[in-house]
C-alpha cells in the first residue's frame, strides 16, 4: 500500500471523474445544455426578431432570419429619442456610480478606522437603511425633489439613487479585514489619516472598487421606478424608461421595439461579459459571503 500522497490523489480523482464520464454523467451534461438553451432562448429570440423586417416578424417563425436587416435599429435610432435617452442614462449612471463608490469608500474607511463621536450612530443608521424598503419612500422623495424644483432634471434623478447602504457595508467590512499594522506604520511615518486612506487603503482594494462600480453602474442603468417618476417629458427619460414608451407608441412593430431593447441592454450586457468575475465578486460580497 502506497503512502505517497500524489498516488492517493490520482486514485481518488479517478473515482470522481469516473462518475462524471459515466452514461448518467453525460446525460446530465446534455440536460444542462438543453436547460441553458431554453433559459437563453427568450434573449436569442429577441435578437433574431430585432433583425427582421416588420413584415417578417409576423410571417417568419424560423430560428434564423431569412433576410436579416438593420432597419429596426435604424428606425429606433432615427425616429425615436433613443440617442438622447442614451445620453441621459449615461450621465445619470456614471454620476451615481462615481458618487456612490466615492462616498461609500470614504464613509466605510472612517467608520472602520477612525474614532469619532457619532460613529456608532452613523453605523446603525446605515444598517437601518439597509433593512428598510427605499421604494416605500418614493412619494416623499418626489415631494422633496419637487420642493427644490429638481423634477425633470438629471440632478433630481441622481439624488435619491445615491442611497446605497450595501456599498458602505461592503467597504467597512473590507477595511475591517485589513491588518491594523498598515495604518499604524503609515501614521508612524508621519502620514495623515487622509494620506493613509488615499495612499494605503484605497490602492489595496481596487478589485473591490471595480466590482462595486460595475454592479452600481448596472443597477443605476437598470433602475426604472424613480427615473420613470422624475422624467416628465420624453427628452428627460433614461433608456430603461424609454424602451417601454416606445413599446406603447409602436404597438405591434416588434422588430423596432426589440431593436431598441437590444440597444438599451448593450452597455450592461457588455459590462457583464467583460467583467464576469468582478460581477460575481460584487454579488457574493454584497450578500455577505466569500466567493
Amino acid at each position: 500500500m502506497s503512502t505517497d500522497p500524489t498516488a492517493r490523489d490520482t486514485s481518488q480523482s479517478t473515482a470522481l471523474s469516473h462518475l462524471a464520464r459515466s452514461p448518467a454523467g453525460i446525460l446530465l451534461t446534455l440536460l444542462t445544455l438543453i436547460c441553458a438553451a431554453i433559459w437563453f432562448f427568450p434573449i436569442y429570440w429577441a435578437l433574431i426578431t430585432s433583425l427582421r423586417s416588420d413584415q417578417a416578424t409576423v410571417q417568419e417563425f424560423g430560428m434564423l432570419p431569412t433576410e436579416p436587416t438593420l432597419s429596426g435599429y435604424i428606425f429606433a435610432i432615427v425616429n425615436s429619442e433613443l440617442p438622447i435617452w442614451y445620453l441621459n442614462s449615461t450621465i445619470v449612471s456614471v454620476s451615481v456610480t462615481v458618487l456612490v463608490v466615492f462616498m461609500s469608500a470614504c464613509t466605510g474607511f472612517a467608520i472602520s478606522q477612525l474614532n469619532f463621536p457619532g460613529r456608532r450612530v452613523l453605523w446603525w443608521t446605515i444598517l437601518a437603511s439597509f433593512m428598510v424598503p427605499i421604494t416605500a419612500l418614493i412619494v416623499n422623495h418626489f415631494i422633496i425633489i419637487a420642493g427644490v424644483d429638481l423634477l425633470n432634471t438629471h440632478i433630481g434623478m441622481i439624488l435619491p439613487m445615491l442611497l446605497s447602504p450595501v456599498t458602505v457595508i461592503v467597504y467597512k467590512q473590507f477595511f475591517d479585514g485589513l491588518p491594523k499594522e498598515f495604518r499604524e506604520a503609515a501614521v508612524m511615518d508621519g502620514a495623515t489619516e487622509l494620506q493613509v486612506f488615499l495612499r494605503v487603503f484605497l490602492p489595496m482594494n481596487w478589485g473591490v472598487t471595480t466590482a462595486l462600480s460595475i454592479i452600481t453602474f448596472i443597477g443605476a442603468w437598470n433602475s426604472f421606478l424613480w427615473p420613470f417618476l422624475v422624467a416628465q417629458d420624453e427628452k428627460m427619460m433614461t433608456v430603461t424608461v424609454g424602451v417601454s414608451a416606445v413599446q406603447d407608441a409602436y404597438g405591434v412593430a416588434y422588430g423596432r421595439v426589440l431593436a431598441g431593447a437590444v440597444l438599451a441592454s448593450l452597455p450592461v450586457a457588455l459590462a457583464y461579459l467583460f467583467f464576469q468575475r468582478r460581477v460575481t465578486q460584487a454579488i457574493t460580497l454584497s450578500a455577505g459571503i466569500k466567493g
Binding site: Q12, A36, W45, F61, A136, I144, L159, L163, S244, G291
Partner: protein, 292 residues
C-alpha cells in the same frame, strides 16, 4: 498630540460629511416626513389638514389594500421558494462542468439578471403575444387555444412569477455556486471511494452544507419580492389593474394618480413595517450564523 487628534476628527467628518448630508436629507427626513404625512389628507404637492387616524381607519377597511396585500403575498409565494429551488438545481448542474463550458453555460443562465426590467417586459410581451408569440404554440398545446396571459386574471400572477424567476435567478445561482465551491472536494472523493450514490452525496454532504446559503437566498428573495412593482405595472398597463394590484403599485396609484399622498404614505408605512419585520428576522439569522 492634541492638534493631531483634532485634525483626525476633522478628517473623519470631512470623509463622512457628503454621506451624512445625503442620508439626513434623503433617508432620515423622508422617513420622518412619511410618518407625519399619514396623519394628514395632503395632496401630492402642497399641505393638507391634520386628520388624526382617519387614514389608518380607511386603510383597515379598504378592500383594495387587502387585495394588494393578498396579491403581494401570492406573488411572494409563487417566486421565493420555487425560484430558490430552481436556482439550486441550476447551480448543481453548472458546478459539475468545468472550464469554458461552465463559463458559457453560467453566462446563459445569468444574462437575464443584468437586463433592464423594461427589456424583460418587451421580450416576454413579444413571446406571449396572442397572435404571433412563440409561446402561444406551447400554451395552445396545453389549453387548446391561445391565451392572453396579461388579460386573463388567473394567468397573470403565475406568468409574472415565472418571468421574475427567469429574470432575477442569476443572483441566487451565483450565491449557490460560491457555496458549492466552498465545500471541500475530499468529502466527495471519500464518499465516492466508499461507494456512495449520487443521491447520497447530495443528501448527506451537499444539502446540509449548502443550507445556510439556502436560508440566505430565501430571505433575500422574500424581501426583494415584497417590493414587487415594475413587472406587474408594465404587464398590467391597459388592463384591469385593480385585480392584480400589488402594494407598491397601490402606493403609486394613490400618490400619483389619485393625488392622495397622505393615504399613499399610510400604505407605504404598512409596507415599511412588513419589510422591516422580515429584515430584522433576516439580520438575526445572519448574526446567529456569524457567531457560530
Amino acid at each position: 498630540m492634541l492638534r493631531n487628534r483634532r485634525s483626525d476628527l476633522l478628517v473623519a467628518y470631512l470623509l463622512t460629511a457628503p454621506f451624512i448630508l445625503v442620508y439626513a436629507w434623503l433617508f432620515v427626513w423622508p422617513v420622518v416626513q412619511m410618518v407625519m404625512l399619514t396623519f394628514t389628507d395632503a395632496p401630492l404637492i402642497g399641505d393638507g389638514k391634520a386628520v388624526g387616524f382617519a387614514n389608518y381607519e380607511r386603510m383597515f377597511k379598504d378592500p383594495i389594500f387587502f387585495k394588494a396585500i393578498w396579491n403581494t403575498s401570492y406573488f411572494v409565494l409563487l417566486t421565493v421558494i420555487p425560484g430558490t429551488a430552481v436556482a439550486l438545481g441550476i447551480a448543481l448542474m453548472v458546478s459539475r462542468l468545468g472550464g469554458w463550458l461552465q463559463s458559457a453555460v453560467l453566462a446563459a443562465f445569468f444574462l437575464p439578471y443584468i437586463l433592464p426590467v423594461t427589456v424583460v417586459y418587451v421580450i416576454w410581451d413579444w413571446l406571449t403575444n396572442v397572435q404571433f408569440g412563440m409561446l402561444q404554440s406551447v400554451l395552445e398545446w396545453v389549453t387548446g387555444r391561445p391565451v392572453n396571459l396579461w388579460r386573463a386574471i388567473p394567468w397573470f400572477m403565475p406568468s409574472v412569477a415565472v418571468i421574475t424567476i427567469w429574470w432575477t435567478n442569476g443572483f441566487s445561482i451565483l450565491l449557490f455556486l460560491a457555496g458549492l465551491r466552498n465545500i471541500p472536494k475530499d468529502l466527495y472523493e471519500a464518499a465516492a471511494l466508499d461507494g456512495a450514490t449520487r443521491w447520497q452525496m447530495f443528501s448527506r454532504i451537499t444539502w446540509p452544507l449548502i443550507w445556510p446559503i439556502t436560508v440566505l437566498c430565501l430571505t433575500i428573495q422574500l424581501i426583494l419580492q415584497l417590493k414587487i412593482f415594475d413587472q406587474v405595472y408594465l404587464f398590467a398597463t391597459g388592463g384591469r389593474t385593480q385585480a392584480t394590484m400589488v402594494l407598491v403599485q397601490y402606493i403609486y396609484e394613490q400618490a400619483f394618480q389619485k393625488n392622495a399622498s397622505g393615504y399613499a404614505a399610510t400604505i407605504a408605512l404598512a409596507l415599511f413595517v412588513i419589510v422591516v419585520v422580515f429584515s430584522v428576522l433576516q439580520f438575526q439569522l445572519l448574526r446567529i450564523r456569524g457567531q457560530k
